[in-house]
Amino acid sequence: MTYDELLENFLSKHKSLLISPAGYGKTYTIVECVKKAQGKSLILTHTHAGIAAIKKKLLSANVSKDKYQVETITSYAQKYVKSFYVGEIPSIDAQTNNYWQFILEKAESIFKISHIREVIHSTYNNLFVDEYQDCTISQHKMILALAEILPTHILGDPLQGIMEFGEKLVDFTNDLTDFDILPELDIPHRWYQDGNNRQLGDFLKDVRAKLIDDIPQSIDLNCISNDIITVVKTNEEIYDTEFLSNPENRYKKCIKQLINNPNHNPIYESLLILVPEYPTSTRPHGTITDRAKIKNIIDFNHQLELLEAIDGKDFYNLAKDIDTLISSIHNARLPIKKIKENVLEKLFNKTDINTWIKDSTIINKRNPEEKQKAETLKILITNFIETPSAKNLYLLLKFLKDNLKLKNQRYSLLKSILDCLCAENTESIYKAMINQRNRIRRVGRKVEGKCLGTTALTKGLEFDTVAILDAHNFTCPKNLYVALTRASKKLIIFSKTLTLTFRQEYGNLPAKYLFP
């Protein structure tokens, strides 16, 4: 079957499934389908990054904007629930899971109402769902409701189904029996493109074949040619004191050099540094706090973008804390201390703050320039205490950031708090935050340049260079496969061991996941 025939086939079925590994031309296939398909196509995916990637490809292929609409499954569901569900909707932050679960269930029943079906039917001719392996069971049920309205073509790779929130993911073997299954895409196009690492592509194809045939206990990094993957054996982990505190640490220096890119190698300008997420006996590793800390240590020049989950709970918590601060600062015994602890320390580097504010006073400065700044700081803080408004807090934070140049660990958190403080017509910062998060979820965001993140946040993205830190801590084969396949030109693996061993509990993946 030629590629064209494959597409024809894929489009001609009312419900069809195309297994499409990462880098095998999946997004390209969607674009070609949208071009071929009659009328307007609805394309649903999971992540905001995914939206951005698909839109970018559609734009560069000059597909007319009225031929498609790209959204995440959940934001599409949310749009309908917000428009047509009457009644209490659980609040988004309390139990993020409950919220989305609720939205998906309601959306499913809304899509069964004939009036709504006509709305959808009159808007779109086709539905494409990308990254189907990431669908939870409730998302899958909602998609099935949509499949009653529109011809539905799904793409995905069960090997990349990373469990995120704990809800069970769709099972390709048992849940998709209604779908016509097409032959799997089998050319690693991404790596075959000029300038990309063809050998890496072939290597990943081998890894993939092994993973599908049988889940191996481990992957051996010993004998891999340097042309394919650069493997760096490390003596410690990124959470060890040696790494955190020793300025001469080799592992750390390696990473710093990679980020600073002193030789201006263009392939290092598109860089993703991946940190594994895994549980330990004390607390989980790889959380946003960990990543912020690591970023602080390896990225002096602020070149890395710290990727955050759009629904990260810190956004909502801090917004609530600010609302509380604004309403209760009047009663505070030590108001400056309260501002510092409840807000400033969550946004700025503590040591930096302490050079200006100690306990509950502004530190007096001798240097005339600094003295002037301290005076201004005093005025801004006093203004806020006397008139606790969003505007005054905004001025204070802006001053700390732009004039005192305090280091901030969570740039996107600071930026969205500043945005919310300026928002008009909202009853609270919390409400403004909900609106802002919703907006970002709808619009999607761009992820490019140099980033620090996790596999969950970067599924579906590609970077020239990917550096995997503490690779020995990737104990789930699917997670590791996703991490490996993000790189198109250069893959660097930092690991304490040269054999990556998978945990037993991940060993029971369905080998030969699909074809009976």
């Binding site: 428009s83 047509f84 569900y85 009457v86 109402i113 709504i116 709305v119 009159s122 808007t123």
Partner: protein
């Protein structure tokens, strides 16, 4: 297209008004002057206006108070092409057909609607958007192009535009905007351009010479200055193309009635395509026969199409022709300043046809028979003669109950919200019973137990008046033959005395009452005779004993009229 609900707040004379028109293809609004009928039509026309702007001023606000915005919500069935998500699909609401109410939830069994809201705040800028409470933070504007899809037009006094083919006119809507542009260019624009060129080939030499001779060329170079027709002044657009009759007379110069008829015919063509037509005072400029024809045409057009026609009227002829089904009575609720509409139940068609005037009144006196109607006329004469305000001043009208029907009619009329008084005999029972009528608030003005009105009259009036009435009856009913009358009286009661004129007694009065109501030989039973009877009563009104039932009745009626 069909409007299912109109909800108006703070617009002109209307503080608030909300009414369902679900499934009403033809709506006829009636009500006394200033009740708000025309304002309702205007509100619909503005909210669905195909114009990109509509000027408003402070007087358009209720009581001139600009601090509360005007909002006009028109909830309407959704046109197909409004359904996509990026149109108005995300703004659908449900219409609960069982309870006739808007629901923000859209259940399977509901009709799907959208609500077009026109909002005008104190900046006087009209803002049109699609309203849905779930999307309060996410209002979606609806532009004039989309509003034009409703094809909503008003037949009004400013009709001239309706006879042109310009955009935003009903003719344009019929042509659906797809005029043949090349035809338009070759038959219209080009000839004009050619004519302008031809005119400018002329040399207006005398004017040019006059200019050259009198204007000094020292300050500015003016050699070879030419006089020409400026193209701007012959700027023509499609809205200059208008309809003319066979003699070449533009329709805009025709009489009011013909203009309205033509305008209405054009609108009705848009109705066939699902448009909405608004006609204020449909009877204007038309004779009764043309009204009849027009109303019938409108009725059938509305029935056969998927659209809606709203009319207002002050004419009996119109509602007699329509019947009850389509009529909504508009009136002010003085207690909370709202305007309310009362739909006339369709079973009442016979009442609408029989007593059309009542539907335009505020207060209705339901008379048992023609005699009583005549008496009411006499009451009016009496009021006038005494320099008191007449009945119509109070919006009061007397209608006939046609015998035993009076009870049903008065019940129906009261239920429609009219103040109702019944003037009736007390000699027979009725359904609903008098007790039931009293319970729903009908005022009963009846005679003493067992008395017909005639019996009551002959009992209570001075004997002078009795004789005068008999004299009138002799002239009217006995060919001025007194003996003929006497024989009848004798036949009725053999004891009737020959000296009855000087013998004022109960027997005489009773017998007179009896022979005045002999079936098919009634003395009165005609409105004019009843009126004469009434006039005679009022002639002796001051002499009637204040305690007499008749006097009490008449005073009660007059007090009720004037209340």
């Amino acid at each position: 297209m069909q409007i299912v609900e109109v909800d108006i707040k703070n617009f002109r004379g209307i503080k608030s008004f909300k009414q369902s028109f679900y499934n009403k293809k033809l709506v006829c609004l009636i009500g006394r002057g200033d009740s708000g009928k025309s304002t309702i039509l205007d509100a619909i026309a503005y909210a669905l206006s195909p114009n990109w702007n509509v000027p408003f001023n402070d007087n358009d606000f209720y009581n001139g108070d600009t601090s509360t915005p005007i909002t006009i919500d028109i909830s309407i069935m959704v046109p197909e092409n409004f359904l996509p998500e990026d149109k108005y699909g995300m703004y659908l609401r449900g219409w609960d057909t069982v309870n006739n109410e808007i629901r923000s939830e859209l259940k399977e069994e509901y009709e799907r609607i959208i609500t077009i809201r026109l909002e005008i705040a104190d900046d006087l800028e009209p803002h049109w958007y699609v309203y849905n409470e779930c999307q309060e933070e996410n209002k979606k504007d609806i532009n004039n192009k989309d509003r034009a899809r409703f094809n909503c037009f008003m037949v009004s006094d400013y009709l001239e535009k309706h006879f042109t083919w310009g955009s935003g006119t009903p003719l344009y809507a019929i042509s659906k905007g797809d005029m043949d542009l090349s035809e338009y260019n070759s038959k219209f624009i080009k000839p004009i351009r050619d004519a302008v060129n031809k005119i400018n080939e002329n040399d207006f030499s005398s004017l040019n010479k006059c200019f050259e001779d009198s204007i000094s060329s020292e300050l500015i170079h003016i050699a070879n200055t030419k006089t020409k027709l400026e193209a701007r002044d012959v700027h023509f657009s499609i809205n200059k193309l208008s309809l003319h009759d066979e003699n070449g007379i533009p329709y805009r110069l025709k009489g009011k009635g013909s203009k309205r008829l033509l305008s209405t015919s054009i609108q009705l063509a848009t109705v066939k395509d699902g448009g909405i037509t608004l006609i204020d005072e449909i009877e204007q400029g038309l004779e009764p026969d043309r009204i009849k024809k027009l109303v019938n045409l409108i009725k059938t057009t509305a029935q056969d199409s998927d659209s809606q026609i709203f009319i207002t009227t002050h004419s009996n002829n119109v509602i007699t022709e329509l019947g009850a089904e389509n009529i909504f009575i508009i009136r002010r609720n003085d207690s909370d300043c709202t305007v309310i509409a009362k739909e006339v139940p369709k079973e009442l068609t016979d009442i609408v046809r029989a007593c059309a005037e009542a539907f335009f009144a505020k207060k209705v006196i339901v008379c048992e028979g023609k005699t009583e109607v005549g008496i009411c006329r006499a009451i009016d004469n009496y009021l006038k003669a005494n320099n008191r305000h007449i009945m119509s001043y109070y919006g009061c009208i007397a209608i006939e109950g046609t015998g035993s029907n009076f009870a049903k009619r008065s019940q129906a009329i009261k239920n429609l919200g009219f103040e109702t008084l019944v003037l009736c005999d007390s000699d027979i029972g009725c359904t609903p019973s008098k007790e039931d009528l009293r319970n729903i608030g009908v005022i009963l003005c009846d005679c003493e137990e067992g008395n017909k009105i005639e019996t009551q009259i002959f009992k209570d009036i001075p004997y002078e008046a009795v004789k005068e009435i008999v004299q009138y009856a002799i002239e009217e009913r006995y060919n001025s033959d007194e003996s003929h009358f006497f024989d009848s009286a004798k036949a009725k009661n053999s004891e009737f005395p020959s000296d009855w004129k000087d013998n004022d007694c109960e027997l005489v009065r009773k017998t007179l009452a009896d022979i005045s109501t002999i079936k098919d030989k009634e003395w009165f039973k005609r409105i004019d005779r009843g009126e004469e009877l009434g006039n005679l009563i009022f002639k002796y009104f001051d002499n009637i004993n204040d305690e007499a039932c008749l006097k009490k009745q008449l005073n009660q009626i007059m007090r009720w009229i004037e209340s």
